[in-house]
């Protein structure tokens, strides 16, 4: 399958995402410059981490207007899997493809450190290979990862099972100390109502090789591969079934 890695001016982790899906997972991948208007036949889209437009004004606030974002929106509305990592998550929030907004970390400081997140739901393209309750050790690196949404929105997200990752202790318990940035309800990542757009602050692409400290992030990207190939297989199977009737 083919991943598209969108590159905004100031994106930093585009190479890391590309390396993870192409060289670690062995999939096809392409960089898509933000001014392009086509995703070049990608099966899944990654909006990578970094400082798009220097984070000026607000993180992701300018990137959401890039030409490529119209394509990303169309792709998402058609059900295509979209993963926003860190700055990519912030772009999805500003673009309204995910609900809520990001604030400065409670500590007002940038934090680069490994954290533990618990997988809450496995019915998204990026968690289908995980187990519910699975705890992953993945690094964060952000100064504005304090997720905020109004109370009624948070309630709706919980009711709809849209919270996909939560900050926890290594044993998977949600505590204030395990929350590195003050996010409401320890939210580390969530999905859209249609469940195909996922955003998370931690960097799974930085946790795909043991040599770098953890390989727990691999399962997030492997899920996309499984989801797309299974989806393709399912499409073939149902086409065959329809033809047989």
């Amino acid at each position: 399958m083919k991943f598209a890695v969108v590159v905004f001016p100031g994106s930093n982790c585009d190479h890391d995402a590309y390396h993870a899906v192409k060289h670690v997972l062995g999939q096809d991948a392409a960089f898509i410059w933000h001014k392009e208007t086509s995703l070049a036949g990608a099966d899944a889209v990654i909006l990578p981490g970094g400082f798009a437009h220097g984070d000026y004004l607000r993180t992701g606030a300018i990137a959401r207007f890039s030409p490529i974002m119209q394509e990303v929106r169309r792709f998402a509305e058609a059900g295509g899997p979209v993963l926003g990592i860190c700055n990519g998550f912030q772009v999805l929030l500003e673009a309204g493809l995910l609900p809520g907004a990001m604030l400065r970390n409670r500590s007002v400081k940038f934090q680069c450190v490994h954290v533990f997140v618990r997988v809450e739901q496995t019915d998204t393209p990026f968690t289908v290979a995980c187990r519910r309750g699975q705890v992953l050790r993945i690094p964060i690196a952000h100064g504005e990862g304090n997720y905020y949404a109004e109370p009624d929105v948070v309630e709706r997200l919980e009711r709809n099972r849209q919270v996909i990752f939560r900050y926890t202790t290594p044993e998977g318990v949600v505590t204030p100390d395990a929350n590195p940035n003050g996010s409401v309800a320890n939210v580390a990542g969530l999905c859209s109502e249609a469940r195909n757009v996922v955003g998370l602050m931690p960097h799974p692409e930085r946790a795909c090789e043991l040599a770098l400290g953890s390989a727990d992030g691999l399962v997030v990207l492997e899920s996309a591969v499984r989801s797309v190939t299974q989806g393709a297989l399912a499409a073939v199977a149902s086409a065959k079934a329809a033809a047989a009737r």
């Binding site: 400082f51 220097g54 940038f110 934090q111 290594p170 100390d177 040599a211």
Partner: protein, 747 residues
Amino acid sequence: MKTISDELIQQHGLTRDEYERILEMLGREPTVTELGIFSVMWSEHCSYKSSRVHLKTLPTTGRRVLQGPGENAGAVDIGDGLAAVFKIESHNHPSFIEPYQGAATGVGGIIRDIFTMGARPMALLNSLRFGPLDDPLVRRTFAGVVAGIAGYGNSIGIPTVGGEIAFDESYTGNPLVNVFCLGIAKADEIVKGVASGAGNAVYYVGAKTGRDGIHGATMASAEFDEKSAEKRPAVQVGDPFMEKLLLEACLEVMRSGALVGIQDMGAAGLTCSTCEMGSRGGAGITIDVSLVPQRETGMTPYEIMLSESQERMLLVVKRGREADVERIFEKWDLHAVRIGDVTTDGRLCVKHHGEVVADIPNEALTDKAPVYRRPMAEPASLAEAQRLPLPSLGAPPPIRDVFRRLLASPAVASKQWVYRQYDHMVRTNTLVVPGMGAGVVRVKGTARALAMSVDGNGRFVYLDPFLGAQLAVAEAARNVACTGAQPIGATNCLNFGNPERPEIMWQFARAVEGMGAACRALDVPITGGNVSLYNETDGRAVLPTPVVGVVGLIQDASTVVRRAFRGEGDAIVLLGTGRDELGGSEYLKLVHGLVRGTPPTLDLTLEAALQRLVVDGIAAGLIRSAHDCAEGGLAVAVAECCFDTGLGASVDVPAVAASETAFSAIATLFGESASRVVVSVAAARADELAGLATAAGVPVAVIGRVGGERIRIAIDGDIVIDDSLAEAEDVWANAIGRWFGRPRAVA
């Protein structure tokens, strides 16, 4: 034309003699613009006039050296057709005036020095010095500098993988901020800062020029006094986003082969880049400053030439390739503007709307800049300072208390409050993160990795400049060796006081001599570096602080090791021997408030053998962890090997033969003798390591075992430290954070 008054000459930091030389070289009075140009190019910061005669003695060649001093950065061959391009630079004075921006623009500057050579920057390190943290103003400077380094490095996406921080009263008004950057380039595609080819276009690209930083170079060449606050407008503001665009665009332009040469505009901006590029290429450059993109109105040629606005590059483009270059920059929303041409007359000719405002031979500004052999004299107070009458200090405090106090001392304590603000993982190459030893990044596309470390010790250099500088080289190379990397090159940042004072010049000269001797003995050539003088406030200088950055090569990235113990039951082995050496130690400063005595002795032959043994032992998979003994001595080193592992240790070491028996235990545990590394090996292989060490002439002793929940240290069988690992680690991990508010416990 404005006449040049004596006051104007003085304001420009030029002496009467220097002005006479200008008259001689030009054959006439200079214009005010020319005076400004001379003042910055002949400033200490740009001309190295006080240091050149001494720096010439350093070893700068070697079989791996592809580029030595004289370019924007140095380069060494690392195999696979690749080169490591690296350098360290200082941004001390601006960081005192405006900590955040001073540090941020320091990071920006060194990154530009690397990518201007055609290398993609891969990693950053920093070496910082501050006054004691109990001073609120120091805390503000400290927090500002760290935030500035983080803000710039994180935004541009280059990981900060390590560094060092030290404290002393002498740095209170003169913080030191030295930033190191390493990049990778194809060895045969290194681009130089050279202008050649008559008629080739000279292009300007990057941020618009404003009035910031004018006379930054002259400010860096002057001491601070009460008027320093007025100099605030001279501080530049960095834009890491602009630099990220510039970095990507420049690398793309360089790959297209369209450039003759390129240089960043750093200190002395447009002035320095034009005359240096011309000088290197034996050519001249003519530019019209009215073509320079400006962000303020009414800028004079003087201001445009001296501006130190950040994130600007000067390019010399091959004939016929101008459209390609412009197109590539447009893609990144950058505007490359042609501002002049290369000529054959070897002169820097500056026009303003077609009218000549400056016309100076390049070499007058570069090779023919003043070179001074300043008077030197050993400080009168040094002999006395070198005496350490231990009996007069009374009985030392209980060992356990000293141990805890050292762990809590900012010099020794964990720096995680600092480095967790740096993105140290971006680019997914970091194999050894900050706090775990020298920084190590893998080189994708090869099996190799590069290790790097920056080290210095102002106390040692103050007490004996020659030996202290040698110890800095040895420590940096040793730290690199402890990850399994063979040291292959070095850079240095020399931070000293006012060179017009003979004692300071003596310190400088002796330190350079010592550094050179150690680099030769350890076969680490110097490929470039930086000198920062006039680090003084009201006549009080900083401790003389040469900082050495060493780069090492690991042939197989999978063999890299860290400082931390790895397995319960592993044997702990001490390589090297301790001596009765408390001079200049952290113990002496922390407990007795003294910087006295002589630094630890150093046997460079033994040091070389030790480093070779460690590198070979790691490559063979024999050594499982390695950590050198530095501030706080052996006891602190053993404790640090336990932290972040959940594994304690029990060790028993022989007492050092001490002349003062009351201090024997202190010297054994906390003395900072050189050439010592604490390693761990599988228990069954301890003898194997011992055999190799003995054959190599390296003293060796199996001192204990990894395991348990305590840190237990005995001397000749008597337990002197028996501490809870968890409690000791808590003290060490949170000491610095406690100065800045509530610490957080994270995974």
